[in-house]
Symmetry: C2
Subunit: 151 residues, 2 copies
Amino acid sequence: MEAPGFRFYPTEEELISFYLQQKLQGRATQDIDGVIPVVYIYDYNPWDLPQLSGERCRNDPQLQEWFFFIPKQEREANGGRPNRLTTLGYWKATGSPSYVYSSNKIIGIKRTMVFYRGRARSRSGSKTDWKMNEYIAIDDQSSSSTNPVPS
Amino acid sequence: MEAPGFRFYPTEEELISFYLQQKLQGRATQDIDGVIPVVYIYDYNPWDLPQLSGERCRNDPQLQEWFFFIPKQEREANGGRPNRLTTLGYWKATGSPSYVYSSNKIIGIKRTMVFYRGRARSRSGSKTDWKMNEYIAIDDQSSSSTNPVPS
């Protein structure tokens, strides 16, 4: 139990440099899982996700953001586009991807998505208020090479 | 040290029902002082206050709010208006006071103030971006009486 008033309001740098890096390096502890659990989020519709959030973040009506580690889909790992369908709709990217920096170094890519109810293929979905930011870590080696960042 | 990303973002209800009530009842612990210390804030100008904040909140560039317990001035305790002058300016109320509720019960009064550089008496101060919310607890007894709230 946190002291009253203490809540998980991470910066993007903390999310990537600490939580995501710890997880990628297999150094995730129970503490980290209690804040950001692994969830196959596309198995759920967005309104079902808050109750799956970390136990240190759950059931706080004040928090309106929830955090998950999402395993890479096989098709994405093979270079394809990830499948972002759920049973009742789909997540669709909005705007352009942007970079996340730490001390002027690029540490990640951020994509913002919006959830639409309906079928992706028919392009007839209706936009909802559910939003998701996806962060992908860029590791030290690639960002210090001469051709650092996937375009 | 908090886990990365955990910060003090209290609700007004938590500030009054937990922190202020604990303090008023003399039940303040080291933990509470580490979050909200007692500071005679009018001895300082606003830009000097962040470094006096609780050790669990200090030195976090992400936090842009700081919390203090302010002992009641003698003139205020005697029914007068508190003196809100600092060496370089003064705090001036803006808008109307409002109530803070918990489960439909009034638990406090909130006043918002803005800091002006200059002398209060000459009414020639220049408004700054520094803002302060002042919370005063209303105890159970008065809020359950027939004439609950000071007007």
